[in-house]
């Protein structure tokens, strides 16, 4: 029997139509059960929102309280930040830094005497142009579009440490050891555990997240809440009626290494 090309194409075309119209094809290509249901995700109504979260640190209130570590202790406890007992392995979310290290370009021999010795409270600057985000190959570190917070998706971090090389502020720390482990004396690196927040595991980088998990519940960041001296003020710098804007209008403030073009969101009143 002759079976020419024309005949073949006709049959093939009809078969394809019949196949696409079959029930199996509809089940395969149609939307799945989960996609078809009407579920939705939203932010909590009580959540604190802003265009650009920022912090003002009043060193005039902070420096006289030498030895106070309330903000650091509260932050590190709430976020299960381990204490490896070794400055080389230290995990830092909020910590103290000498003026010369925090503001190297402002350092001078003739600086006000007390500033040479007093420690400054430093944390992630949540830059408007964060270099850590640019260098992250997996987009584990990202800047939230809604409020400018630079945070991390720990699920994606591969521990390459590009971000640590990229960050000019040393705000990122690598877990060289298992945070759930113990030191040579048998003491756990985490003295207390906040059951509501995860730990990290060995081989990932971590940093301050401006308490995104607390903001989502309508709470201000832990360090700001913990400061008894009112030295830390948190607010929306994009809102001209906010408290931080009020303070910034009235005081001379400096930021860390602004010449690098990162546009930090943490301001210091010296």
């Amino acid at each position: 029997m002759g079976f020419d090309r024309r005949e073949f194409i006709k049959i093939a075309g009809l078969s394809a139509l019949a196949g696409l119209g079959s029930r199996a094809a509809f089940e395969l290509l149609g939307p799945g059960e989960l996609e078809a249901t009407s579920v939705s995700y939203a932010a909590k109504e009580s959540a604190l929102t802003a265009k650009r979260w920022a912090m003002v640190i009043d060193m005039g209130k902070c420096l006289p309280e030498a030895g106070c570590k309330d903000c650091m202790e509260r932050c590190h406890r709430i976020h299960n930040v381990p204490d490896f007992g070794n400055p080389k392995d230290e995990i830092k979310w909020i910590w103290k830094e000498a003026f010369a290290h925090a503001f190297p370009e402002q350092e001078s021999e003739y600086l006000a005497e007390h500033l040479h010795h007093e420690p400054f409270v430093v944390l992630c600057n949540h830059c408007a142009h964060p270099p850590c985000v640019r260098v992250c190959p997996t987009k584990a570190t990202f800047k939230r579009k809604q409020d400018g917070i630079v945070t991390m998706d720990m699920h994606r971090c591969i521990g390459c440490r590009f971000c640590m090389a990229g960050c000019p502020y040393g705000s990122r720390s690598f877990n060289w050891r298992d945070p759930r482990g113990k030191n040579a004396q048998g003491e756990p690196f985490l003295k207390e555990i906040n059951q509501e927040y995860p730990t990290r595991n060995k081989g990932v980088v971590e940093k301050c997240n401006f308490c995104v998990e607390r903001l989502a519940e309508g709470k201000i960041p832990a360090c700001v809440e913990a400061c008894r001296h009112g030295a830390l003020v948190f607010g929306d710098v994009a809102d001209e009626h906010s408290e931080v804007r009020q303070i910034l209008r009235e005081h001379y403030t400096i930021r860390r290494k602004p010449e690098l073009g990162t546009d930090p969101s943490v301001f210091y009143i010296v």
């Binding site: 059960e33 989960l34 249901t37 009407s38 579920v39 939705s40 995700y41 939203a42 932010a43 909590k44 959540a47 990202f142 939230r144 809604q146 945070t151 998706d153 720990m154 699920h155 050891r177 298992d178 759930r180 482990g181 113990k182 030191n183 040579a184 756990p188 690196f189 985490l190 555990i193 059951q195 509501e196 927040y197 995860p198 730990t199 990290r200 595991n201 060995k202 995104v212 989502a216």
Partner: protein, 140 residues
Amino acid sequence: MLYDAGKIIAGLVIFAAFFTVPFWYGSDKTSEMPKLELTAKAKQAGQCVEPKEQMRQNHMQLLDDWRDAAVRDGNRTYTNSAGKSYTVSLQNTCMDCHANKDKFCDRCHGYMGVSELYCWDCHLDPTKEKNLWASTDGNS
């Protein structure tokens, strides 16, 4: 008309024996499918965030969606198809009801051979006493 019939048949027998070793070896044990055990709280709730069948089939997809919604989009409230809302959190919502991770998660995952999950490297397992995991030798 089989040349070298002896060798070929012997070879086939050896091959068949070798190939079916897993069956011989495991022939004396059958593993029973684990039964799902719910905590009192989960039983009382009656239904998870979505119907049981959907959770059975798609819980992994849902967990992925929850992770992305909470971490990347900052959307921490989930409203299910019935209009009920939940806080999007593995540690604080899922594990609040399913506080028996060893029975609820691990047994079935072990049975299915998908036990290589690293959720609990970071997320806290409520079945373990406070600080208990710190007793494992993680001194490295």
